[in-house]
């Protein structure tokens, strides 16, 4: 984890959880949103998740279960616009 004092570390090098709320927009400005940068970001995120939860000597069900739970939540968000009509419908 990065150091907690903002004056000593440059804004662009901080991780998201170390950025203060006031600086969040300027932090977003330093992020790389080109296609290459986005792909690099996805790859880094994937590697971090993989090495923390799956690529361990005695990995359990937790790593995969978190992924599937995230997929369920994402699917719900994807279908919300369609499902919201079912709320108080009389005939399903």
């Amino acid at each position: 984890m990065g150091p907690l004092f903002s004056p000593t570390v440059a804004l662009a090098e901080k991780r998201l959880l170390d950025v203060k709320l006031g600086e969040i927009f300027s932090w977003l400005g330093t992020r790389d949103f080109t296609p290459n940068g986005l792909i690099g970001g996805v790859r880094k995120g994937h590697d971090r998740y993989y090495n923390k939860y799956i690529n361990v000597k005695k990995g359990g069900i937790g790593g995969v279960a978190m992924l599937l739970a995230g997929y369920v939540v994402l699917s719900y968000v994807w279908e919300y616009d369609h499902i919201k009509h079912d709320r108080w419908r009389k005939y399903h």
Binding site: Y50, I54, N55, V56, K57, K58, G59, G63, V64, L67, L68, Y71, V72, L74, S75, Y76, V77, W78, E79, D81, H82, I83, H85, D86, R89, Y91, H92
Partner: protein, 227 residues
């Protein structure tokens, strides 16, 4: 007012991005590749072992020439099993309920087995159209029947998978709606319905795995005849 039970099979989109794209690429993400280390992590070892056993079982009855298909059929089976099982999670979309996808799997692979048979051993491949020991008067009729059954194979493969999965999902949704609606009215009946729902979900898990297996098994059978 249209019933909304079939809406779960519509391909959902969100801001123009179809969910089917995510649903189809998800199995690829779920199976990491083994590294060049001698011993990988526990999950990867398990994955490698099960894939090994699976391909052994499928390719036991097939002769040497058919083993070229090992990678294709094993990966197809794993893909189908993963797609089916992921579709049982709530709110997810099952791509294998779309007939287009299943026919896209069935027709090219079936056609490949037929063409391989016709190229390498045409007499034997045509000979499959007439079972041994048929009485002479029956021969013309039987050849017509066998040709029809040959051409109906890809249709059967695709439709079998689609129909099984669609019917299962539909049943789950129907019984779940029934249990939910009955709960304030007749709690006992609702509990009974919930039990049926539980058993049905177990069945669906089994069907998901079995259907994928049957698909690949039949393909390997067609391959065995022709290779």
């Amino acid at each position: 007012m249209m019933l909304s039970f079939f809406d779960q099979f519509m391909s959902p989109t969100y801001m123009g991005i179809p969910l089917i794209a995510l649903a189809i690429t998800l199995p690829w993400i779920l199976y990491p590749t083994p590294t060049s280390r001698w011993i990988n992590n526990r999950l990867l070892t398990l994955q490698g072992w099960s894939i090994n056993r699976l391909s052994q079982q499928i390719f036991l009855p097939i002769n040497q020439g058919g083993h070229k298909w090992a990678v294709l059929l094993t990966s197809l089976m794993i893909f189908l099993i993963t797609l089916n099982m992921l579709g049982l999670l709530p709110y997810t979309f099952t791509p294998t309920t779309q007939l287009s996808l299943n026919m896209a799997f069935a027709v090219p692979l079936w056609l490949a087995t037929v063409i391989i048979g016709m190229r390498n051993q045409p007499t034997a491949a045509l000979g499959h159209l007439l079972p041994e020991g048929t009485p002479t008067p029956l021969i013309p009729v039987l050849i017509i029947i066998e040709t029809i059954s040959l051409f109906i194979r890809p249709l059967a493969l695709g439709v079998r998978l689609t129909a099984n999965l669609t019917a299962g999902h539909l049943l789950i949704q129907l019984i779940a709606t029934a249990a939910f609606v009955l709960l304030p009215l007749m709690p006992t009946v609702a509990i009974l319905t919930a039990t049926v729902l539980f058993l049905l979900t177990l069945l669906e898990v089994a069907v998901a795995m079995i259907q994928a297996y049957v698909f690949v098994l039949l393909l390997s059978l067609y391959l065995q005849e022709n290779v």
